[in-house]
Symmetry: C2
Subunit: 241 residues, 2 copies
Amino acid sequence: MSGTLYGIGLGPGDPELMTLKAHRLISSAGVIAYPAPDTGASFARSIAADVIPAGVREIPIVVPMRVDRFPAKEIYDTAAGEIAEVLDSGADVVTLCEGDPFFYGSFMYLFERLSDRFPIEVVPGVTSLTACAAQLQRPLTSRNDVLTVIPGPLPDDDIRTRIESAQAVAIMKVGRHLKRLKALLAAMGLLEKAGYVERASLADQKVHRLVDLEADTAPYFSMILIYKGDEAWTLPPFCSS
Amino acid sequence: MSGTLYGIGLGPGDPELMTLKAHRLISSAGVIAYPAPDTGASFARSIAADVIPAGVREIPIVVPMRVDRFPAKEIYDTAAGEIAEVLDSGADVVTLCEGDPFFYGSFMYLFERLSDRFPIEVVPGVTSLTACAAQLQRPLTSRNDVLTVIPGPLPDDDIRTRIESAQAVAIMKVGRHLKRLKALLAAMGLLEKAGYVERASLADQKVHRLVDLEADTAPYFSMILIYKGDEAWTLPPFCSS
């Protein structure tokens, strides 16, 4: 009887946005795995740090943080092999995932290597999408709105067409594309409809209307939300931006 | 000093998919509000039932379940008035919301009536979107996929165009549109790429490939997810469908 591979969504960063189920499974884990950069701490592990039991076996999946180098095939082959050995022994492996495992998550690289051989349970988590909407104090979607989620690296023409045809838009992975995206949204007359959130729900988060944002670069964990409805929108004065 | 209005995302239905923050705020609530049908129990309240303290004041927002009658202006005016009185007295009000308050949620009807007068904090929750992906055992989005979320009531031509231009598609609010949507996806050759989930994460959930689904009608809480990638996809034999 093999063990189960769990992919656990931890939410956007605030440990309190973890689900009760994530908390239970991590608390009782014997083996955990998580993505980690080659320098610095693992973001996923840091979210769960207070819940991880002492003496747990840890399998960090160290992926160098180079842009456009995903996925690193050999790294995931090796990690999947190590995890498979644990599962074959009958023990479970709890994989810590930022946000939700299946929403632009690296868990898929383990999933595609192991799902034909082992039982896998994915525990969904709060995504950055709704965490950012909460911080911007504006509904993301309502009634029969169409929502489109667009990765920031896509070309301008593509992004423009997609924004034009949706009522609500999220642009993910803003990062080094911020300056270009600001120019595009200004040309489309949408700057005042756009909100910007960086490191949502963390102590050092930033929340701005895009029109007020002076920076031209952003960290990887940043997002632009556009709501094209007619409602006027301002960040309320009691907002934590 | 007025109280704060909390909009609390409870996740898709399994009480264990509530966040720790939702759990803390509901546990210590003095006044709760929640949407309720005119007959039967409130789904939102049922998710939180085991956490609601004894003796709490309850404000059910009773909305008759008629299709296409949303929003019921007078009902929300009255509820907002009652909630405003509590907030004016200095007490907080914790509003229970299925899924996430700002993701197709009725909380927006309170938010738009009260956000200019009172501090509001939205606590994001796990959406049905990623809960369904977890149950279908298939990544929702990866790499630079574009995701489009489409309400099922939209017309066929509109839905077709939007599906054609995205890599990943979620069709929400399937309900009485199931037969029409199945025919559309069959005509587009996408039946085998589509998964169907009803009442995700609840004890009586249903999980099917759409091609295997014989029903022609679905409950309101049902969703179709389409992933157009080249990967073959079958529900694994150990899936709980």
